[in-house]
Symmetry: C2
Subunit: 240 residues, 2 copies
């Protein structure tokens, strides 16, 4: 894994600052990833203690967001970056918003796990939720990896994964509805699962957003709100 090369700055302090902020985003990303894994384990194993831990840890994610934002605005004020340095700071500002919201979604999953642990055990597609969660966690890991290496090709591949996650999400949702219709006593319980599944799907969306910022940094092109096909074109355009 290589570190993205920044333009050579007269100030090596500036280089160090950019590298520091990048490392902090990766640390925040690692924490969020762990929160997602733990929240899902709390849900699938109906573990109230682990759920409580995840809920408490969300504050760490929030604190990281605030401190990285603060560092970015100091860099903007003092270093007045331009070109790719500015794009890096811009990508960081956007990325941490998504990471923070991923953290919120992980917390929601944990809240649903806590809620479920207080109810009578019953039928719910928890094994499938585990599959979806592993898939989503992998996507988050891939997005962070693309960010770490500032690799537009990996970011594009990762963004594509969102389609599969949406498909899994739809299937799980249909299954949940079937459970509820077959046995209305499960409605409350299955609704908790539905909220958790929805939160996982949202995490996938946020991971895709991060991939878009990586492409923006590398290619200097804003690829939000366009199709995956159009995104692919933008990524491959200058490589030929």
């Amino acid at each position: 894994m290589h570190t993205p090369t920044y333009k050579s700055h007269i100030s090596s302090v500036f280089n160090a600052e950019l590298e520091d902020v990048r490392q902090r985003v990766l640390a925040m990303g690692g924490l969020v990833e762990q929160q997602i894994v733990d929240a899902t384990r709390a849900l699938t194993e109906v573990d109230a203690e682990l759920a409580a831990e995840v809920i408490a840890n969300d504050e760490k994610v929030n604190t990281l967001e605030v401190s990285i934002d603060d560092e970015c605005s100091r860099i903007l004020a003092r270093r007045q970056p331009t070109a790719s340095d500015l794009r890096l700071v811009y990508a960081v500002i956007k990325t941490i918003t998504d990471l923070e919201r991923m953290g919120d979604e992980a917390e929601k999953v944990a809240r649903m796990a806590a809620d479920l642990s207080e109810q009578e055990r019953g039928i719910a597609p928890l094994v499938e939720v585990g599959h979806l969660s592993r898939h989503v966690s992998q996507m988050v890991r891939d997005a962070l990896d693309a960010f770490a290496r500032m690799d537009a090709e990996s970011a594009l591949a990762c963004a594509h994964e969102d389609v599969n996650i949406d498909r899994e999400y739809e299937a799980l949702m249909r299954q949940c509805i079937t459970f509820m219709m077959e046995d209305p006593r499960t409605i409350r319980r299955v609704l908790d699962v539905i909220w958790a599944v929805r939160a996982l799907e949202r995490i996938g969306d946020h991971a895709r957003n991060i991939c878009e910022y990586v492409i923006y940094f590398v290619k200097g092109k804003d690829v939000r709100h366009i199709s995956l096909e159009a995104m692919k074109k933008e990524v491959q355009e200058d490589d030929e």
Copy 2:
């Protein structure tokens, strides 16, 4: 309504740029507000045509986000703002992310309206959804008004409204669950309503975020992730 006074710049072009970006955010906000109103009307009146309009209009919201982001990064590169100018640009960058996501939520409400229009009519608490929506739209209007005037006190009052919206949301959710348990044939239909209600509640969260950025701009303090009590202290601290 007064326009926030920026520091006097040697470059009057810079002043004009800042005012322009501020106006564009307000225009984007106005469009999002209309999308919320229309999406809810499509839902409560089960109007498939209006729903389709809202879905189509989301692209306009997205286009505005991309163009304002672009303008902000150009201002950062060319004008290298500091102090309150930088805070304004920072607040704009954050605000448009929330506005764009409010637009996505409005689109979701419209999608649920379109979905409902294809199902048999049945029982659902649509009148109450209308109430919640009016409340949420008012909150969005208040947040944008606080942004327009860069008024921290109004922003604080508006952020407080989120508590009432969450309470209404909880009540509506309980009502939806009761409907489903009493008549499982309504599950699919009520789930559409639940998604719409959830989307409206999320819009309230985004409006609160905008209020936080206004306070950040005016007071230079980051008030995210703190209690409303602590937020109040920050807003009133220097006013005494």
